[in-house]
Symmetry: C2
Subunit: 127 residues, 2 copies
DNA sequence: TTTACCATTTACGTTAACGTTAAGTTCAAC
DNA sequence: GTTGAACTTAACGTTAACGTAAATGGTAAA
């Protein structure tokens, strides 16, 4: 009924249970517990884990990821709170945009480099 | 005359000299030495450091970066060698492309999330 | 030639992000 | 009710990527 155990989540995301417990340890997740103390995960935590792993893949460390996860987890009620959240979120989006641009530059440079090799290969094959 | 000391490079790239020595230690750089054993860096190493820091910024570890740096450093002479280098390089470009795509997806999701907050803010301000 | 700075190697220290082991608890099935 | 898999916490271990300290050497200015 929409509750997952820690090993189910671990299998889903192909990580160890230790990893998930560690994420709770550092405040990235706060799963509820059942009567006997076992963690109960829901779709909320699944979504958060998605964000975490995507962030990790792109060089953000857990502290940075934590900020982003918490940003989208808390329900900012009140105008001032909302405004600050939006501003912070737009900053984060800017960071991501910058990373994308620089990755594209990196890609371009790699393509230029390969072009040289391509030309050399053509030279060799024309003989 | 186009030779830089280790501390000049460190200042240029805003890292410690230890970092640069470490990169040599793990095989990312192979600077020449002068008579008294001091490292002599040239534009070649400057270019390699550029690649290294950009790679780091986007979540590649030093091992992966090493592959890429060595790929573009060695002069693949001979048709077979050239072909393999080109193929490997295209794989790496593919990886970068994938990262770009997923970063863009990440950005989209963040923008959607923020849109919700924006709407809530508008609701509050219409009253 | 002594001061001072830059270089060198060696080697131990540090932090993030887990891995691993141990010792105990709970649940599901038989 | 006993067995076995899955859960719990606690705590020590591991690796990458450096930081830092110590001991030493070259060189240029005072």
């Amino acid at each position: 009924m929409s509750h997952y155990s820690i090993s189910e989540l671990a299998a889903q995301f192909n990580v160890s249970t230790r990893t998930i417990r560690y994420y709770e340890e550092v405040g990235l997740l706060q799963p509820k517990r059942n009567k006997s103390g076992h963690r109960q995960f829901t779709k909320k935590e699944m979504t958060q884990l998605q964000l975490i792993f995507r962030g990790k893949k792109y060089g953000f460390n857990l502290e940075e990821i934590k900020e982003m996860v918490l940003l989208f987890e808390e329900d900012p009620t009140g105008k001032e709170q909302l405004k600050r959240t939006i501003e912070y979120g737009e900053d984060k989006i800017h960071e991501v945009s910058k990373r994308i641009q620089e990755l594209e530059q990196m890609k371009n440079e790699m393509e230029q480099f390969l072009q040289v090799f391509h030309d050399e290969l053509n030279q060799l094959e024309e003989e």
